[in-house]
């Protein structure tokens, strides 16, 4: 076992103390591993079960290696609902929502951070105040507004109402405040317009914050259940989480198909996470501080 990193290096140490140390580390890793098993087991079970036969799902003892091995569960589950369309819907809605939020939250963050126009403070407080309105509180009137706009069962109904967030505006403003004004001044002297400053100077510099915001918005939209549930009644507009939730109520005992569908709903987010782990964590730290 490796030596402890934090520990001071004493000049002399008895053999007994070394053994106690090692025992301590053994316990440390045992506890850590136990926790890791608890965290991972449900997901491992999901994946293995997606390859089982229906009768092996609740077999005693638990089958960790499915036998017989049934990859064709995926083919069967894929044929049971319009998953390709749900995938497209989720991808389209999440991407559009993300683009809108990053674009308009950045613009607003830029405006609030770098210009002095009348009522700037009051308007900023107005935007921030919406952070205190939980979605559940306004979902009924929001549904009515969306209906009055004729947006029920449309992509714009799924995308537009929740697209631009106060949190994103706040986050981008905080980041833009750290970018020196001198860059804007220099650009103006070079004949750059205000839109050009935003697009060619600020936007590239704000990329780290924009990336964190983008991932955050995308995963939030990808997971969203309640709003798609409210504004869509047509099968063709179901997003993946909604499709999956309704698939479960429709085929409540088709466990292996349900697990296969759960696996492919999860895969895109896992890929995103593996590629962009650093930004994920950054986004959480910032969101944790959003207030």
């Amino acid at each position: 076992m490796r030596e402890l990193a934090l520990e001071l290096t004493p000049t002399r140490r008895s053999a007994a103390r070394v053994w106690w140390r090692r025992l301590g580390w053994a316990c440390f890793y045992a506890g850590l591993s136990l926790g890791a098993v608890v965290m991972a087991l449900p997901m491992v079970w999901m994946v293995t079960t997606s390859f089982k036969t229906e009768s092996a799902v609740f077999a005693v003892p638990i089958q960790w290696v499915p036998s017989p091995f049934r990859p064709d569960n995926y083919v069967r589950a894929w044929g049971m609902a319009n998953w390709g369309l749900y995938f497209f819907n989720s991808l389209f809605v999440a991407t559009a929502t993300t683009l809108l939020n990053v674009l308009f939250a950045s613009a607003a963050g830029f405006g609030f951070a770098k210009y002095r126009f009348p009522f700037r403070g009051a308007l900023f407080v107005l935007v921030l105040s919406t952070l205190m309105i939980p979605f559940q509180v306004i979902m009924v009137p929001l549904f009515i507004i969306t209906r009055d706009l004729g947006w029920l069962n449309t992509y714009q109904g799924l995308i537009v109402p929740g697209a631009v967030t106060a949190f994103g505006t706040f986050m981008m403003r905080q980041f833009m405040l750290t970018i020196p004004d001198e860059l804007m001044m220099a650009a103006r002297i070079d004949g750059c317009g205000e839109l050009g400053i935003f697009w060619r100077i600020m936007a590239p510099l704000a990329r780290p914050a924009a990336a964190a915001l983008a991932i955050f918005t995308f995963t939030g939209s990808w997971d969203s259940l309640l709003w798609p549930l409210i504004v869509t009644t047509k099968t063709g507009l179901r997003t993946l989480p909604l499709g999956l939730a309704l698939f479960r109520s429709e085929y409540s005992t088709n466990y292996t198909a349900m697990m296969a569908a759960s696996v492919w709903t999860t895969i895109p987010i896992v890929i995103l996470f593996v590629l962009l782990q650093r930004h994920f964590v950054q986004g959480i730290v910032i969101s944790g501080l959003k207030g």
């Binding site: 210009y115 309105i133 509180v137 009924v140």
Partner: protein, 296 residues
């Protein structure tokens, strides 16, 4: 030319308003107006088909004696605190464990974080099977002489089952926030305490905990607010059942407004929920203000 620029300054500053305008319009149209509407609709009877009819505070008076609403509100409190308190304790402990250097740290941290990124619907579906009377959890408990427990179909165990799952999913999320907080604790403090002969537990209790108390309070409040907005787990796993034991406020609002078209009553429920969350938010702002050094 250069001198003339100064006269054009105010005009240029209006660009700021132009940049802000779309986001502002969005927030007014899709947040503030709906909020005002919710308040207004809560004073009416409205079924989407006929025009709203003003009824004053009748909806609120009705809620005061509505057993179902009171139960939903009670369930929401139980869920928010039952999930929130263990979540703070466990994620703080896990963060404390991860705030040191050891071999394999990144792999372990990723494993603990993994449930956070998975969709709530997927988690609910998988855990509903784990909680099945024949499922993995009962199989693991069987050697201890427990069960089989009907986790999701008995009204005393269903709320607990959902809380356990909710805690499991969010440990990694709050762990990350706590880790950021722990990074702010100077290493010198630990070194000094170690020289003084303090053991790990004493260091945690007397140094770490007091120093990250603001973060702890902060995390507690934001996760309570999240808890009050619970919907997905309860909708997917139990649909509020058995016999309303997991019927939380958001689910009842959804059913009342969007299933039974009682928009006025649903809006009144929303406003009550808003008042509860608002009280927590104001409390949170006081906590944060007391801690400006950490979050400045």
């Amino acid at each position: 030319m250069r001198v003339l620029r100064w006269t054009s300054v105010p005009r240029r500053e209006w660009w700021g308003l132009a940049f802000v305008l779309p986001a502002l319009a969005w927030k007014i149209g899709f947040n503030l107006i709906p909020m005002a509407n919710a308040a207004y609709i809560s004073l009416t009877n409205y079924d989407l088909l006929t025009a709203p009819r003003f009824v004053g505070l009748a909806n609120y008076a009705g809620l005061a004696t509505d057993a179902r609403f009171k139960q939903a509100l009670g369930n929401t409190f139980v869920y928010a605190f039952g999930r929130g308190v263990p979540l703070v304790v466990i994620s703080l402990f896990v963060a404390w464990v991860f705030a040191r250097t050891f071999r394999g740290k990144n792999v372990f941290r990723t494993l603990y974080f993994m449930p956070v990124i998975i969709s709530g619907v997927v988690i609910s579906i998988v855990w509903a099977l784990l909680y099945d009377p024949r499922g993995m959890i009962n199989q693991l408990l069987a050697p201890f002489g427990i069960g089989p427990v009907l986790w999701l179909t008995k009204s005393d165990s269903a709320p607990i089952a959902i809380i356990v799952m909710a805690v499991w999913q969010s440990i990694g999320f709050y762990m990350i926030i706590f880790l950021a907080g722990l990074e702010g604790v100077p290493v010198d403090f630990y070194d000094a305490a170690t020289v003084d002969g303090a053991n790990g537990w004493q260091r945690f209790w007397h140094i770490t905990l007091p120093l990250i108390k603001p973060t702890t309070l902060f995390v507690l409040v934001i996760n309570l607010i999240n808890g009050f907005q619970a919907f997905t787990y309860q909708f997917v796993m139990t649909r509020g059942g058995p016999s309303d034991a997991t019927n939380v406020a958001s689910l009842l609002i959804y059913d009342t407004g969007l299933q039974y078209q009682k928009m006025g009553l649903a809006s009144a429920m929303s406003i009550v929920l808003f008042a509860v969350i608002m009280a927590l938010t104001l409390f949170q702002m006081r906590v944060v203000r007391a801690d400006e050094t950490t979050y400045a």
